[in-house]
Symmetry: C2
Subunit: 350 residues, 2 copies
């Protein structure tokens, strides 16, 4: 397709959608035409792509006629409704919602980890959850080199993971707090929940809904997406995973305290550093003598995953702690989606 591809971005006006436009503009994908789609509420908004102003259109099934590639980040219900319509019309969809992630027919892909899964797609490819992606980028090179037995992760997740409105809420709460006023929460921890709590100057140990298992849906996603991405099966037993997900008053970029156990008990921190230094998508920031370690404030706007504070658990051979930070809106969402699309184009899988 020498003139390039006809692309549509579904959910173009959201925090992730806007970043998808920018990541697409900076990608290697030849774009013939770009259609920006959203709900009727956002239709009419003007957004720029490579210096050109585009008007956002209301999404209908017919919006996808003639479209080759759909990048979607408009929420699970919207994806469920429209992506099958897009596939019916011949498009390949990369979906940043949780709608299809656990469908055994749908590849769940982090390009640094399991790009080969793309070969078997049936029109829809799922982008994993933001907190899962950055952990996969950091752990996959370690798994390849030393084997991986167990993961225990505690997350420090940014407000923007719950959307632009949650981010605005954090800023408003912070200003109210500093002004000595009462804070008003209407969105976090999760839209649609019965109760809302302020995040500014606080911590919320709930991301997404809390399930009967005692785990939040976000924690469930980290466990089962990890298994599907690394082992090809959401219920695989070869790597044990548990997670605690906490929302913190940070606008963008998630932190993760990752404890993991490798099969090769002779592995040292130096061995891990060597592997991480060469790992795709990883920047090793681990020089404690000079206080160098990953911080959200430094990761914003970057595509890479930053890894530091790598230390052995001195009482458990083969066990380590590390600290992982990445921009949840880029590698955790918009960039990983566009990166998958680049792979599809490169491998002629569109």
């Amino acid at each position: 397709m020498s003139q390039g591809y006809s692309v549509a971005i579904l959910g173009a006006t959201g925090a992730v959608g806007r970043r998808m436009i920018k990541q697409l503009a900076q990608s290697t994908i030849p774009v013939k035409s770009l259609k920006l789609l959203a709900s009727s509420r956002s239709a009419g908004t003007e957004l720029a792509f490579k210096g050109q102003k585009l008007v956002v259109e209301e999404t209908t099934p017919e919006s996808f006629a003639g479209v080759d590639l759909v990048l979607s980040s408009a929420g699970g219900a919207v994806s469920k409704r429209f992506l099958p319509e897009a596939v019916k019309r011949g498009a390949v969809c990369v979906d940043n919602t949780s709608a299809f992630r656990m469908d055994p027919e749908v590849p769940l892909v982090v390009p640094e980890v399991n790009p080969d899964a793309l070969a078997h797609h049936h029109g829809i490819i799922a982008n994993p959850n933001c907190s899962t992606i950055q952990m996969m980028v950091a752990l996959e090179p370690i798994r390849k080199a030393f084997g991986l037995k167990q993961i225990i992760v505690s997350t420090y997740q940014a407000a923007s993971g719950a959307g632009q409105s949650a981010l605005n809420e954090l800023y408003q709460e912070a200003q109210d707090y500093l002004d000595g006023k009462e804070m008003h929460a209407a969105i976090l921890p999760t839209k649609g929940e019965a109760k809302h709590y302020p995040l500014a100057f606080n911590l919320l140990p709930q991301i997404d809904v809390l399930e009967d298992s005692g785990y939040s849906h976000e924690e469930w996603k980290m466990i089962h997406e990890t298994k599907k991405i690394m082992l090809g099966d959401m219920n695989a037993k070869d790597i044990k995973v548990t997670a605690t997900c906490v929302r913190v008053p940070v606008p963008i970029a998630h932190g993760e305290s990752v404890y993991f156990t490798v099969e090769d008990q002779t592995a040292t921190v130096e061995d891990l550093w060597k592997v991480l230094q060469k790992a795709p998508g990883v920047v090793l920031e681990d020089d404690i003598k000079h206080q160098v370690y990953p911080q959200p404030i430094n990761a914003v706007g970057k595509r890479e995953t930053f890894v530091g504070r790598v230390r052995p658990d001195y009482e458990n051979p083969g066990a380590f702690n590390m600290w992982v930070v990445s921009d949840n809106l880029l590698k955790g969402a918009a960039w990983n989606t566009v990166q998958i699309a680049e792979y599809l184009v490169d491998r002629d899988l569109l």
Copy 2:
């Protein structure tokens, strides 16, 4: 001593010192006289105790003449210099700094956990690190009931743990950030370090200095204080402990994601709840159906340790996750110190 005790508070003008004055006023300790001590810089400050105004005096060795009980929170160097002088003059000192914690002759006490260690004091009793104390309050009842094999903790620590000036820095940074100005850090992550980083809207995976082992001193403290408090020996092997300590943009009250393994593999979440409901100093806040879980904003000003989000690691029998929050300036510092003093008075150990 029917008329009560002569008490001195060393470091009276700090964030913890001010809270010690209030906790002492609310305690069962009969106070005959109270002396407020600080550096020459803070001498002359007026502070209230039970409605009475007291003038802060500059600390000298002679300040401790006639004093029965010293509560100290003026920094390790000050404690090392003055507490031996106070002991020489007949006082018993409860010290909230790290100066004497690892001295095998000095009891390191959380009253809910190891009050019997107080019987063997030689004039100085150490108050553990804030992040250790709240974890001990939550884990000791579990250890007693089910045995404890391993602890893997990730902390979410409040700015006030680094003192009032760090808290002021957080607020100033937050306002500057919201105003679109550059943030200026001069204190955090740790006074005296070469580099300082903003905490507002950020995460700092460094608390206290970073050691050659790869661990921060705060992480080292959590590991070795846990062993000394629970097992009586800072290098005990019976419980394995590892920690990752992260400063978060919260003013007061630390959060902790605690993963632990018990010996009794038949233990269920319901069993843990039963034990935690009856545990001294613990408030169980764990009703996920109604979104009830511990939050820093709710723990401020309370003496208790709040525990929630208790869940099994479904892939590891006997392993659990839980979320622990407590006011780092009260149970983590001022209240635990005064509580130790109450025990000393009750057991006639002054």
